[in-house]
């Protein structure tokens, strides 16, 4: 018997792909192509990992934001969640289906808009090609993990914040964390409490792992463990939140 959340996943996935959403991968494909094909100064080789980093570094956050805007709040507002919860389906199953559909949409779009320009670039480039398979695969895996993280945070925010505010909140958080990171690096680099606290300002485990892989510095075991801990933390918060929210806020 198919689990309820898988049945729901198919419907949620279909719900996401409106006419606007169908056009989106093409738009991102154009942007992805610009990133790959516009030559940067002083580049003497076609470094696949670097191009992938640039592409996915742009696509994953933007596409995640696009597919996760008001993910839960919109369903509460238009009564979709209430209609579903009349059935014998747990709230966590609803959230799982919702998140899975968002993630699938994100990955379909990112793979299409991210990999296609890269493949075309590889075929037509006249520069020497730098391509390490293990590095590229590791980067793909890490960006997949990063997309999971973004979805978990956006879902959590969407349980408590209205409409597009979940995306704005994440963007604002990221900007503030970057600014604080820069401040600590420049002015408080020798302060143990500042450096220690700054590590917890934003869940950066997977991003640090990407840096380590990209620069071939070391195998980022600790960074990945941190990333997994923060991922599990936000998923736990999201599932807890969906069990707390009122699906029908109205009063007479």
């Amino acid at each position: 018997m198919t689990p309820a959340f898988l049945k729901l996943f198919r419907i949620e996935f279909r719900r996401q792909w409106t006419i606007t959403a169908l056009v989106t991968p093409l738009l991102f494909l154009i942007i992805g192509s610009l990133i790959v094909f516009i030559p940067t100064p002083y580049t003497r080789e076609f470094n696949v990992s670097q191009k992938l980093l640039q592409l996915m570094g742009f696509l994953i956050p933007v596409v995640s934001a696009f597919f996760c805007v008001g993910l839960v709040d919109n369903d509460v507002k238009d009564g979709w969640l209430r209609t579903l919860l009349v059935r014998a389906i747990r709230r966590e199953e609803y959230l799982l289906a919702k998140s899975l559909s968002a993630l699938t949409s994100i990955w379909v779009t990112s793979l299409f808009a991210g990999t296609l320009p890269l493949i075309i670039g590889l075929i037509i480039t006249k520069m020497p090609i730098e391509f390490q398979v293990s590095q590229v695969l590791a980067l793909y895996a890490l960006f997949f993990a990063i997309s999971l993280l973004y979805v978990s945070i956006l879902v959590f925010f969407s349980c408590w914040l209205p409409g597009v505010v979940n995306v704005v909140a994440l963007m604002g958080w990221g900007i503030i964390a970057s600014a604080l990171h820069a401040y600590v690096s420049f002015f408080l680099w020798d302060s143990s409490w500042a450096v220690f606290t700054e590590q917890f300002l934003f869940p950066s485990g997977f991003f640090d792992a990407v840096d380590a892989i990209q620069n071939n510095t070391h195998v980022p075991y600790i960074e990945i463990l941190w990333g997994m801990a923060s991922l599990a933390f936000f998923w736990s918060l999201s599932f807890w939140s969906v069990n707390r929210i009122q699906v029908d806020k109205g009063s007479e």
């Binding site: 198919t2 009564g79 209609t83 009122q246 109205g250």
Partner: protein, 253 residues
């Protein structure tokens, strides 16, 4: 040989409500007590109506019974289960007022999802077709959800409420957006369903509908259940008189 005396098994109530209260606390206004110590019970197979003036607490009570809203105090049970338990959900149907804004889903697909969630499987198609026919929505099965008129949305909600074999159905203003022919269809439909032993609890402003269909009527005002009328022996027009009486009493107090 001594025979053991069997104690009579207490009948399982479809709805059991004990002392529930609910207060809303809007940000910039004073708290509003929507329900005060409401207590009643609905046995299986009964059709119960809930009437009252605007702001009496009808929708709040309905939402609490369905588990969409948490009561501040008191207990609610549907067939002795918590309203939000999966067991209660399997036995319950609900007609509300959803927006259905999704342009990419058709009525058929939407109903098939709910049929899947009810584990109807093979019998799903027949069940859906029958209900669509009964509510005159067969021609709309390929319409997208967002293109439905208000009346068609209401009928779709009714189809959802009766999909599968619910033992308890909640209806919230079921005739609000329906044209007269559709109201008659609903009345006939409920008469037929009553005979299958399904319990129906519905809130409505349409007093004649309530009189025609209900076995019992609860009158709620200012968050309290003021009266519980057995409709089997009442004449037509009784509810209107009762309503006016309550309103005069309220005005004089």
């Amino acid at each position: 040989m001594r025979r053991k005396k069997l104690l009579p098994t207490p009948e399982i109530l479809a709805i059991s409500v004990q002392n529930i209260s609910k207060t809303f606390r809007p940000r910039s206004k004073n708290p509003v007590q929507a329900l005060k110590n409401v207590t009643f019970a609905v046995p299986k197979g009964e059709v119960v109506g809930l009437i009252g003036p605007n702001g009496a607490g009808k929708s709040t009570l309905l939402r609490i019974l369905l588990g969409f809203l948490d009561a501040d105090e008191g207990k609610v049970a549907l067939f002795e289960h918590d309203p939000e338990s999966l067991m209660a959900r399997r036995l319950t149907g609900y007609q509300g007022d959803s927006q259905f804004r999704t342009p990419t889903l058709t009525v058929q697909t939407f109903l098939e999802l709910h049929a899947h969630l009810l584990n109807l499987n093979g019998s799903a198609k027949d069940n859906i077709d029958t209900l669509l026919k009964e509510f005159n929505l067969s021609n709309a099965s390929n319409f997208s959800l967002s293109s439905l008129s208000k009346g068609m949305r209401q009928k779709l909600e009714l189809v959802l409420a009766f999909l599968g074999t619910p033992r308890l159905v909640f209806l919230d203003e079921p005739t609000a957006s329906l044209d007269p022919p559709s109201v008659f269809e609903l009345r006939d439909f409920l008469e037929v369903r009553k005979k299958t032993g399904v319990t129906v609890f519905f809130s409505s402003h349409n007093l004649s509908e309530v009189e025609n269909v209900c076995d019992r009527v609860l009158f709620i005002s200012n968050g309290a259940v003021l009266a519980d009328y057995d409709m089997k022996k009442r004449k037509r027009g009784f509810l209107e008189k009762a309503f006016r009486t309550h309103l005069m009493e309220k005005a004089s107090s």
